[in-house]
C-alpha cells in the first residue's frame, strides 16, 4: 500500500519515521488523528498507549504530524543526512553494486 | 410594504466544507434571531436556477454576502443577479483570526465553531444596522 520506492530507491532502505519521546508525550493522540498513512497505532490496554507501528508508511520528508504536537514529542531524522544516504544508495543501485 | 426594504443577507450554503455551514448558520442567526426586523435572507439556489421572483427581490437591493471560501459563490451570484452588494464577508478571513481553531465538519459544528459563527453573525448585524442607518 505505501510506495515501495522513493526517489528510485527501495523505501525500506530509507530511515525516515517519527520517534516518540515518551518522556514528553501525553497521549493526546493529535498525531494519530492527523496522520492519514496509519503510521501510528493506539494501544488502549497498554501503558504505552501509542506506538509507531508502520514506519515504512511514513512519507519520506513529511514531518506534518510533528507540527500537531504542542509538546515537541515527535522527532525525525536529519533531512540532510537522509538525503545523502538516499543519494548514495541510488548511485549504488545505478552502478549495479 | 411601507417599511423600507430589509437588507438581504446571503450565505453560500456550501455543502462540502465546514466554512459553508458556518456561513449558513451565521446568516440564520442574523435573520432569525439577531435582527429579524431589518434583515432577511434568500436562498442562493433560486439565483442559481434563475428564478424570476428571486431575482426581482434582489435587483438594486442592499445585499450582504457571506462566503465560506474564496470561490465566493454568494458574492458572485448576487452580483450576477444585479444585487447592490454593500459588503462581502468570508468565513475563512475570520478563521485566520482563530489560528488552530477546530470548527467541526460540514455536517456539525463544535462549540468553538458556534462561537465563531456568533462572532460572524455579530459582524453581519453591525453591517445591517449601518446600512439601515445610512439609508443606503
Amino acid at each position: 500500500m505505501s510506495e515501495d520506492t522513493f526517489m528510485g530507491v527501495p523505501r525500506n532502505t530509507i530511515d525516515w519515521k517519527p520517534t516518540i519521546d515518551y518522556e514528553k508525550c501525553n497521549y493526546c493522540m493529535e498525531c494519530f488523528d492527523f496522520c492519514p498513512h496509519k503510521v501510528f497505532k493506539k494501544q488502549e490496554d497498554d501503558p504505552i498507549k501509542l506506538i509507531v507501528e508502520n514506519p515504512l508508511n511514513c512519507v519520506v520528508f513529511c514531518r506534518a504530524c510533528s507540527k500537531t504536537c504542542g509538546l515537541d514529542a515527535l522527532e525525525f531524522p536529519n533531512k540532510v543526512e537522509v538525503t545523502k544516504k538516499i543519494k548514495e544508495t541510488r548511485s549504488g543501485v545505478a552502478s549495479g553494486e | 410594504m411601507l417599511a423600507k426594504s430589509k437588507v438581504k443577507v446571503m450565505a453560500c450554503s456550501g455543502m462540502g466544507k465546514v466554512y459553508g455551514l458556518m456561513a449558513r448558520e451565521a446568516v440564520l442567526q442574523t435573520v432569525q434571531n439577531l435582527c429579524s426586523e431589518q434583515a432577511e435572507t434568500t436562498c442562493l439556489a433560486y439565483i442559481v436556477t434563475g428564478d424570476d421572483a428571486a431575482t426581482a427581490k434582489i435587483v438594486d437591493q442592499p445585499c450582504i454576502t457571506i462566503d465560506g471560501c474564496p470561490a465566493m459563490c454568494s458574492a458572485k451570484s448576487a452580483a450576477e443577479m444585479g444585487g447592490d452588494i454593500k459588503a462581502k464577508f468570508k468565513v475563512l478571513d475570520v478563521m485566520r483570526l482563530h489560528k488552530g481553531a477546530k470548527p467541526g465538519t460540514a455536517t456539525e459544528l463544535t462549540e468553538e465553531g458556534w462561537a465563531i459563527v456568533d462572532e460572524i453573525a455579530a459582524k453581519l448585524c453591525a453591517e445591517v444596522a449601518q446600512i439601515q442607518s445610512e439609508g443606503r
Binding site: M7, G8, G70, L71 | -
Partner: protein, 290 residues
C-alpha cells in the same frame, strides 16, 4: 527600506525554548529600530501596543510548537509578517532543546544570538529584489481527473519531488512551489510562512510552511541554493496558491547552485503524473478511514 518591525515573542517562562525566544527578541530589538511587544501586558491591555502592532510588519518569535505568540497575534487580529519557532530552528541545527535546562546556558545563549543575528541580517536584506527573470506561464496543463477533482500538471519546464513540490528553473534562478494536488489536499490555505530571504538551503530542506484548516505542510525544496525572493502577495492572500499554485501561487525564488546534479533526483511531468495518480487513488481510499 527603513521600516521597523514590531517584535512579539512568546516569553514562555516554563521552557528553555521560551527563554530563548525572549532572548532573541531582546537582541533583535537592541540591534535595530524594532519595537518590542510584551505578550503578557498585551494580553491584558490593547491600548499599549495596538498601534505599534498594527502599523508595522509583525515578527513573531515562538518558543515551542504551542505557538502562544502566534495565537496571541491571531486573537488580536494581526497579520504575521515573519515567524520563527525556536524549537524548529534548534532541531534544524541538530541541537534540540529537549534536555536543556530552564536557565540558559552558554549553548542556549549562543543559539539565541545566532538566531537573532539571522533575523537582523534578514531585516537588512529584506527588500527582496526582483531578479527580473521571466518565468514562462504554462500554456496548457496535463489534466488528471478523479471523480469531480481535476488535478493539473504543467507539461514542461517544471520538475517535481515526490513530496508534491515543484521547481521551475530559468537560467541560474528558479521558482519553487507546491503542486495542484497538494493545494487541493490542503484545501483553503490560511497561513504561509515563507523561507528566509538570504538563507541557504540544501536539496529537500524545508523551504517554508503552509497551513490550512486540515494540516501544516512543509515545502520540501526540490533544489539547493540561496533564497533570493519570496512571493509576498501570497502571504496576505494565500488563496492565490489555491487558485493556481504554478503561476501566481509560487512561493519563493532561489539561486541555483547545483541543478544539473540535483535534477537527477527530480521527476518530470510524466513521472510526477504517475505519483499523482497513485496518490489520488490512495487519498480517496483513505478518506473513509477518517
Amino acid at each position: 527600506m527603513s521600516e521597523k518591525y514590531a517584535v512579539l515573542p512568546c516569553n514562555g517562562l516554563d521552557k528553555c525554548a521560551g527563554q530563548v525566544a525572549r532572548e532573541i527578541a531582546q537582541i533583535v530589538c537592541e540591534n535595530t529600530e524594532n519595537e518590542l511587544i510584551c505578550p503578557v501586558f498585551y494580553r491584558v491591555s490593547d491600548a499599549r501596543y495596538d498601534k505599534i502592532a498594527k502599523e508595522n510588519p509583525l515578527l513573531v518569535i515562538d518558543g515551542c510548537a504551542t505557538r502562544c505568540a502566534s495565537k496571541l497575534a491571531g486573537e488580536k487580529g494581526l497579520k504575521i509578517f515573519r515567524k520563527m519557532t525556536v524549537t524548529e530552528e534548534a532541531q534544524k541545527r541538530g541541537a534540540p532543546l529537549a534536555v536543556a535546562p530552564l536557565r540558559l546556558g552558554a549553548a542556549e545563549l549562543a543559539l539565541g544570538a545566532e538566531l537573532a543575528a539571522e533575523l537582523v541580517k534578514e531585516e537588512a536584506a529584506d527588500a527582496s529584489v526582483d531578479s527580473g527573470v521571466v518565468y514562462p506561464v504554462p500554456e496548457e496543463y496535463i489534466i488528471h481527473k478523479k471523480d469531480k477533482f481535476i488535478f493539473r500538471v504543467p507539461p514542461e519546464g517544471f520538475y517535481f519531488t515526490e513530496n508534491d513540490c515543484w521547481v521551475q528553473p530559468v537560467g541560474n534562478r528558479a521558482r519553487i512551489g507546491i503542486t495542484d494536488f497538494m493545494q487541493q489536499s490542503l484545501s483553503d490555505i490560511m497561513f504561509v510562512t515563507p523561507p528566509t530571504v538570504g538563507a541557504t538551503i540544501d536539496q529537500f530542506d524545508e523551504a517554508g510552511t503552509l497551513e490550512s484548516g486540515k494540516a501544516v505542510f512543509e515545502l520540501v525544496s526540490p533544489v539547493s541554493g540561496k533564497i533570493t525572493a519570496v512571493n509576498t502577495p501570497v502571504l496576505n492572500a494565500p488563496e492565490l496558491i489555491n487558485e493556481n499554485p504554478y503561476e501566481q501561487g509560487w512561493i519563493a525564488e532561489i539561486e541555483l547552485t547545483n541543478f544539473a546534479e540535483e535534477q537527477e533526483f527530480l521527476l518530470d511531468a510524466a513521472g510526477y503524473l504517475k505519483v499523482l495518480k497513485k496518490k489520488a487513488d490512495e487519498y480517496h481510499a483513505g478518506k473513509k478511514q477518517g
